[in-house]
Amino acid sequence: MIGRVRLGVVILCHAQLDVAARMARIWANGGARVAIHVDAKVSGHGMMALEADLADLPDIVYSPRHGCDWGRFSLVRATQDAAQALLDRYPEVTHVYLASGACLPLRPIRDLTAFLAQDPDCDHIESVNAHDVGWTVGGLNEERFSLYFPVDWRRRRWLFDRLVDWQRRLGVHRQLPKGLVPHLGAQWWCLTATTLRAILQDPRRDEFDRFFRFSWIPDESYFQTLVRRHATRIESHSLTLAKFDHDGRPYQLYDDHAMMLEESRCFVARKVWPKAERLLNTFPVPPRAEPDLGPPQPQRIERLINRTVRRRLLGRPGLYMQSRFPRKDAENGKTSAPYAVFQGFSDVFPDFETWLGGIVDADVHGHLLGPEVVEFAGRPEVGPGAISTSTLVRDHDPQGFLTALIRITPRMQVFQFSPRDNQALNWFMATDPNAHIHVITGAWMLPLLDCDMPFDDIRRVTALLQRAELQHLEVLNSVWVKARVQVHELTDFLARPQGLLLQALQGLPVQGHHDALPRMRNLDGLTDLLRRLRNSGLRPRLSEDGLPLPEITLSERTAAE
């Protein structure tokens, strides 16, 4: 059975001819017939060096040279001619493998032959219907075939884009040759000689070539489409491991990939960095006594590459650094982990920070954005990750401060907030799905009860804080809010503090007992203060609904009398 497969290889070389020569030698030594196409742009000197390099392998076929440009039909032409030359010279070849000069065989060629012999009539070529493809780079799927692409994308990008625009506007729609259904796929394939001959000797080949000459990237569609006309059975998967990044550039393989490549059990991988000596020396792995028939399992290395593409495109959420500095609202995750903000709780319960720190498995800070100093939990001189406690540094880049803190600490971050603090992050936190924001409106007024400032100062401070809070509430009530927000009026909260406090704790990793409420501030004199503020011309927001304290009605009646 194995004897029936005679492998032929077409190698397309553009640069790094020394590596290409090495690859050709591997293929030839493995028993494959080799045809080499060298880009016409390579100097005669380079060509001579290649031929001299391979002088001891007289069976290698050199096909007519074409100047190849990425994404143009010249690549298909080069492949056609090289395949034709190979089949003409070696009619006994049963399978033809298309490879590049940077494609490194990972497993012995004998393994590949044995693998092909298991199903000798099968064509291994990735061929996906163009209507169903979602992965092509650049957004052109069907338009690859319906528009004309006469200019080079890499060298004349501007003209290329204009031509596409004009044709879209003019409604250009090329007619596909009858009987063709456009298919796309990786350009590296392994076809049976029968299928390949059928494609090359198709009576309508001139018509097809004329059509594909002006389509875009025909090397990814020409054989992939035509194989559907001629093949008996298609295994729609490329035997070459070739991954592309988001720009459509092939991934390079380096020495440190050796382990993973060996595990992947792919037959051929590209694209090898030409100076990756260890890879070039390790592969292909020496043949075992019995040919290994196992199919490729490239999932792991594909996962690695997909992960890095994702990192390039989406990045790590909540990271701001020298090579990732997203614009506002393009962050893909403003912060890296959930955090909670408590506004007003430390005003109602003076010991709230320590109490909460005792019952949740989280870092409970004081007022991180406070005006005097950054109040990290335990009030250290230097915060987590050596973040400065200086408000100057923090206010220089408040967003960087918060995101760095959340990213560097392993536990959840919880901190107190108030209208007294830096308000620069209000929008940032409100639009961050990681934020849990709990607000008791008007609670900021409670500490004013205990202070011995002159009344004029209290009035001024109240006006300032009230304005700050109103602005914050406007943010929290906007339609753009992504954070989980709970806002309670002070009056509502005081009516049933235990229930609402428990409700606020629900999103936190609570671990200890919390039967007892923390000590509550003495509220004596609040109504009096509110009345004085109102009478001084200010309109305290709190008093609109009136505090549900019995004194209020009483005092108001006395005022009326």
């Binding site: 650094m321 090579s323 500095f325 893909n332 401060f401």
Partner: protein
């Protein structure tokens, strides 16, 4: 008046004239450099070059050259600013070093950048050029398994011409003077600690670069005036062209597109780090000397702060410092990134 002029002249024109001024300035300084050992004839087309200005760095040089040779620097082009500790003789003997001497003022040549721009202009075109100080050691993703040419080939293939590497100040545990540094020692065996997460970032809209501050220097020496702490953003690795010029140290370049080394759509680009081996036992002498010379940025404000700090036996270490392991650690912390260089 000046302000009004600024608002009238488009930014592009202003940047262009500034770039031309810098190049002209560099050209004008050509007489200041005297070739001591000119081995530039050895430079081959694909070589990666390093450009360095130094003064009295004899003790740290062997390790510096070693590190970068191992990464894959093929040739060093070094300006010796009037050293008197034998640095010049040592460098002149190295087979892969071209050396120039100058006695001109460091400060009046824009802290050496005029000399470097001049050398870059003359020798750097179409080469990948690494511009570093002798106490800066380049680290990049995969640097333990892939040499620098792998990185530059990949940058070429991705169509990029500049690569950022933030300056990461390294310091020892305990007082700086406690562990003496001797020639040939690995500086990061002593100064192995760094600050993991206290960096502030702002964008400079005119030049397009990010302005990064923070780290141990801002935390200690500049505690009272943190906003004037040193800048840490650097773009040391550039595929040079005659039209390019460094503006201020290697913090930013012109034309502007070279500074856009970061992604603004949420993705990550590749970036590295310059490990800064400044805070070794050699530092106290150095800061005293530099303070006398007053040749450094902003009237040696940095050195004044250091000296004041060091007299008190300051150590830079704090309980939140992290000990350096490898580039993977830096990547996990988010100080560098491999981008899509898998």
């Amino acid at each position: 008046m000046r302000h009004r002029l600024r608002s009238i002249i488009p930014d592009r024109l202003r940047r262009r004239s500034q770039r031309q001024y810098l190049i002209a300035r560099a050209f004008n300084r050509r007489g200041a450099l005297r070739a001591i050992a000119d081995r530039t004839a050895q430079i081959r087309t694909p070589d990666i070059l390093a450009f360095v200005t130094l003064r009295n760095e004899r003790v740290r040089l062997p390790r510096f050259l070693d590190h970068h040779r191992r990464l894959g620097i093929d040739h060093f082009l070094i300006v010796d600013n009037d050293s008197d500790d034998g640095s010049g003789d040592y460098l002149a003997q190295q087979p892969d070093v071209s050396l120039w001497w100058t006695g001109a003022s460091y400060k009046r040549s824009r802290f050496g950048m005029d000399w470097i721009n001049r050398l870059l202009w003359k020798y750097g075109c179409d080469h990948w050029c690494l511009t570093v100080d002798p106490d800066e050691f380049l680290i990049y993703p995969h640097c333990d398994t892939r040499p620098l040419p792998a990185l530059t080939d990949w940058l070429d293939a991705s169509g990029r011409r500049s690569f950022p590497a933030m300056l990461l100040d390294m310091y020892p545990r305990g007082n700086i003077e406690d562990q003496p540094y001797a020639e040939g020692d690995d500086p990061f065996a002593i100064a192995s600690w760094f600050d993991p997460a206290n960096y502030t970032i702002r964008k400079n809209d005119f030049f397009g670069n990010l302005w990064i501050q923070g780290g141990p220097r801002t935390r200690t020496f500049f505690a009272s005036d943190p906003l004037s702490g040193p800048a840490l953003n650097k773009i040391p690795l550039v595929k040079w062209d005659r039209r390019y010029a460094y503006v201020s140290s290697t913090h930013m370049l012109l034309p502007r597109h070279l500074n856009l080394v970061y992604d603004e759509d949420g993705g990550e680009r590749a970036s590295g780090c310059l490990l800064h081996a400044k805070f070794l036992s050699t530092f106290a002498d150095k800061s005293a000397e530099e303070l006398d010379r007053r040749q450094h940025y902003a009237n040696s404000k940095e050195y004044q702060a250091y000296h004041a700090g060091l007299r008190r036996g300051t150590n830079l270490w704090c309980s939140e410092s992290r000990q350096y392991r490898d580039w993977r650690q830096l990547e996990d912390l988010g100080l560098i990134s491999r981008g899509h260089w898998a």
